[in-house]
């Protein structure tokens, strides 16, 4: 009997280790030979811990499992109350187009043999054949745009680093996934870490960089552990180090652990943090591609961008570019979170509408109450009301609606949400996380909290609302990075789409 029990952080947080131990104990009691594989997560979090048993028809799932559900697995699995059928036929899974996440949840994350058997390192082999200029052309042709939020074409960034002259260049992976509602980087680092090693190695060869860093936030201890192990195993197999895969290229990499600063997800703050300083934002230009880590040319990409590189090289730019719409090519791992019935990771070609994702795929709210708002793109993203659910998942379509895709997170709220409170929180979060370098962000966010507090208290609401609007305009235009510059998105979208939450009865004048 071959049984899969995920070791992903979300599965562990919901009791996967206890379930795995119970399975071992029960198998022992019954004298059944059970081989337990700790896979990553399929990304269907409402089912975690999702146990899978291998059958001749495929892997059949049970979830969400508890210790009490374990004996039933050995009695009559077909009639098990937690049986969900063949995992890959669950509509949430079957409707996806998994390119970046093809192996996630399927393989044993640290089994290099498994990784290679499922197409791993075919991309690197192809990359070595193509050579640096060829790889950059391929990435450009794929249409891949930065998955961290800015959406800048990855191939152009690489080409800039490739043609820069320097004695040392770097590849830096931004895995400081701090946006609430996002977990795609984490899912892959824990479920398919060799993909990141391979993607970064390809980036190194493409640009002539020989050293790489993965900057992982400290809030992801499991990702840190798994990545460290994967790097050690890749090094042992000579897939990292001198003459990678017997080529003429050298590349090695290491993990760097963050220290709990959201702003370090901004690329220049991240570079300062890597250099052992306070994570403060740098003014651009110069671009990190030319003057990056330690002043050297640096490819700095979001983890999902780098994780998508192997499949692009393996299957070809054309294959990847055939997915998507407009200038948004390929697929996007959409992360559905918050008050939602079926939350998780849904990788799909660009072009799917917000309403399809929230209503059809995710099934609405967990509370069963009507959806009132969806925050798209993390704490710096806009709140969308259901009247905008026809918005297509596409960089430009979101921009047109005064929103952003960001790193692909969607946080669902039901009708009990107070949008004035959420607008206040956006300012409060910005104040908490501001690096302090530029004034609109450092001071503006604190003033923003104060003014919204007045609105909530009913003090001169009209005057104060126009003050918030004015403040948002200043932060948007005057901030050095997206923290101060994008905080106005959640604030203004809450005011625009949910004005009723900002019209509290005016406070009576102070009684004398």
């Amino acid at each position: 009997m071959r049984i899969y029990v995920p070791c992903d952080a979300a599965a562990l947080a919901t009791g996967a280790d206890k379930v795995a131990a119970a399975i071992v104990a029960e198998a022992g009691r019954r004298g059944v030979e059970a081989q337990i594989v700790r896979n990553g997560s399929r990304g269907m979090f409402w089912l975690e811990p999702l146990v899978e048993i291998v059958t001749p028809q495929g892997r059949t799932g049970f979830g969400p499992m508890t210790v009490a559900d374990v004996p039933g697995l050995f009695d009559a699995p077909g009639q098990h109350p937690k049986a969900v059928g063949l995992v890959e036929e669950i509509p949430f899974f079957a409707k996806q187009q998994r390119l970046t996440f093809a192996r996630c949840g399927v393989i044993d994350p640290l089994d290099l043999g498994d990784y290679i058997a499922y197409g791993g390192y075919a991309g690197l082999a192809q990359a070595i054949k193509l050579g640096p200029a060829g790889i950059c052309a391929e990435v450009k042709d794929s249409g891949l745009r930065g998955r961290g939020g800015a959406g800048f074409p990855t191939g152009i960034k690489w080409e800039t680093v490739r043609t820069a002259q320097a004695d040392q260049k770097y590849v830096v992976c931004n895995a400081d996934e701090g946006d609430s509602g996002t977990f795609a980087d984490r899912l892959m680092m824990e479920g398919d870490p060799f993909s990141l090693v391979e993607g970064m190695t390809i980036a190194g060869i493409a640009t002539g960089a020989t050293r790489g860093y993965v900057y992982i936030r400290s809030e992801y201890p499991h990702s840190i552990r798994t990545m460290n192990k994967a790097i050690a195993r890749a090094r042992q197999a000579k897939l990292l180090g001198a003459n990678v895969m017997e080529s003429s290229h050298d590349f090695d990499m290491e993990v760097f652990v963050g220290a709990g600063a959201y702003v370090c997800g901004e690329e220049t703050a991240l570079l300062d943090s890597l250099e052992g300083k306070r994570g403060q934002v740098r003014a651009k230009p110069p671009l990190p591609a030319l003057v990056g880590l330690f002043g050297k040319p640096t490819v700095i990409n979001n983890a999902i961008s780098l994780l998508t590189i192997p499949v692009i090289l393996e299957k070809g730019a054309k294959y990847y570019a055939e997915f998507g719409m407009g200038r948004s090519r390929g697929t996007m791992p959409v992360q559905i979170a918050g008050n939602v019935k079926r939350g998780g990771l849904f990788e799909a070609a660009f072009g799917i509408t917000l309403g399809e994702i929230i209503n059809d795929i995710a099934g609405g709210t967990a509370s069963g109450r009507p959806v009132r708002a969806v925050q798209a793109g993390g704490p710096l993203g806009a709140y969308f009301p259901p009247s905008l659910f026809d918005t297509e998942y596409d960089y430009e379509a979101f921009t047109k609606r005064n929103g952003l895709i960001g790193h692909g997170g969607l946080v669902v709220f039901d009708d009990s949400v107070d949008m004035a409170k959420m607008a206040r929180f956006a300012m409060e979060f910005c104040a908490h996380e501001s690096c302090g370098k530029c004034t609109p962000c450092r001071i503006g966010s604190t003033r923003g909290v104060e003014v919204i507090d007045k609105i909530i208290a009913g003090i001169e609401p009209e005057k104060n609302l126009s003050l918030v609007e004015d403040l948002c305009e200043t932060m948007k235009l005057g901030s050095l990075c997206a923290l101060g510059g994008f905080t106005p998105y959640p604030v203004m979208s809450a005011i625009t789409h949910f004005p009723e939450d900002f019209q509290k009865p005016a406070m009576p004048l102070a009684a004398e």
Partner: protein, 154 residues
Amino acid sequence: MNNDFKPELVEAIIDANLGLERPLLPVLHAIQEEFGFISEDAMRLVANRLNITRAEVYGVVSFYHDYRTKPAGRHVLKLCRAEACQSMGSEANAAALLTRLGLDWGGTTEDGRLTVEPVYCLGLCACAPSAMLDGELHGRLDAAGLEFLAQEAA
């Protein structure tokens, strides 16, 4: 965990990280791991050995939310306060717990048993609300579950 400053231990931590391109953050992580916080004595020693000013070390320690300059309680409970957890009622649960313990965010119970800190996202946004107790993750944590967790940390 022993909170007493031991210069030889700090020296050993620095030595083990000297090969890195910029060892400051890894050294601070390791010191906090060893002693539970980063004392002024430790900062002085780090500045000296890495040949940077004490102001630089202090600047880094005070910038990052992870670093502590005072010992925490025997257990540290980090509660997520970000939007996804808020959408599932985390703020009300946290407020109830803090009120019962008589604490503010970041506070430690009088008996030194438990410190409650905010955290902004643990990446468990589809099984919210979430928390981390002494490095262990917990998801789908309703009010009763949170209370149980806080009591379990004895």
